[in-house]
Symmetry: C2
Subunit: 222 residues, 2 copies
């Protein structure tokens, strides 16, 4: 895939597929990547992935499994159901990463390492040696709720990961005004969930307008 | 629950519910705990959990989500679908652990921390402070396949976790002959998957006989 600018990605994290289909319907034209979030995947199973693949054959489709074990079985299930990218938790044993990566290659797909827990740059080098090219830098939803913000520490780590050779997808309550923070990062994708849906809890807004604001910022900095 | 001996737990890790129902049917009388494995949960969604709850109203039911984020939403989904215990990955942010634990208390359920990645005894103390009483010591399936066995290092860590106050469920290619290794551990449950089903890849055997052998060993050492 020839990519000159970071992608825009919608994460679908509702507990039911009909809400997810409605959320993505409004902004599908404005996003490059559609993610079946962990919540939706656990709620509806691979049926959610298959249905989204049918509805959106041209989009990059991500299955956010954050898998930690059974790399071969889980990755095969997701890729066979239509995923292009599958996420693996950073805490997974390196053999699990390798198993998932082997399956990804068979399907011409990609593995993304989702950065949770006490991972190190040495781990990152092992992932790259295993053939992995992507990681997801994630400000935890629960950490956000507790008031933890983007900081110098995050950006430094992202730069180090870029240097090791990983492209980064960035997520965690990201808004268009944050985009400039990441201009020195090898950004693969910016992931937003509720901001791109037409609702955010009780607030009704136009996800398409937000998508355009994201795109404007991306165009400005890349 | 008044527990004097470790439980025996069957992990259902098939990709389809009908295989899982068949696997558990043969040994349900011989096990205390039924686990919807990550593979089955991602494949069939919460429908798998609800179906097993209907079929087995008296068993302890585990949903092995290994959740790393969205602790409240995911835990609520699993407990509301019939789970008694829900697993959280050790790499989860402590706020995620706390969120999941709050939900567990509302449902009179329990959280189990599944030990993957570079966790420390300091982390374990934080989990206990959050109200968590259980952890799962896990020899990774992919690590097993690569020939990594139970060792002194595992047992030492398990003793340290016991001392911190965590009861441990132990899993990862466990066979009845391994049970004696864990006699000094606060063992909550021994988890087996394919050994308790009536097949293990191409080998056909009687899961009920294996369950009896596990029980005999448990009775001998506790």
């Amino acid at each position: 895939m020839n990519q000159t600018q970071p992608y825009l990605q919608i994460a679908l994290d509702s507990t039911d597929l009909s809400t997810a289909l409605n959320d993505v319907h409004h902004v599908a034209d404005a996003v490059d990547v559609i993610e079946v979030g962990t919540v939706l995947a656990f709620s509806e199973g691979m049926h959610a992935l298959k249905t989204l693949r049918q509805h959106y054959p041209q989009h990059i489709l991500v299955c956010d499994m954050k898998l930690l074990d059974a790399g071969e079985t889980l990755a095969e299930m997701a890729f066979a159901s239509g995923a292009n990218w599958v996420t693996v938790g950073a805490a997974a044993h390196i053999e699990t990463v390798r198993s998932a990566q082997r399956i990804a290659q068979q399907f011409n797909g990609e593995i993304q390492i989702e950065l949770f827990g006490h991972w190190t740059i040495e781990d990152a080098k092992l992932w790259v040696e295993s053939g992995v090219t992507q990681a997801i830098y994630h400000r935890s939803r629960d950490a956000q709720a507790a008031g933890v913000g983007w900081g110098e520490h995050d950006l430094l780590l992202m730069e180090q990961l870029s240097e090791v050779g990983l492209e980064l997808s960035i997520t965690g309550g990201i808004v268009p005004e944050d985009i400039h923070l990441f201009k020195n990062i090898r950004a693969k994708s910016f992931i937003a969930g509720r901001a791109l849906a037409n609702h955010d809890g009780n607030t009704i807004h136009d996800g398409k307008t937000i998508a355009r604001e994201f795109r404007k910022q991306i165009n400005h900095y890349w």
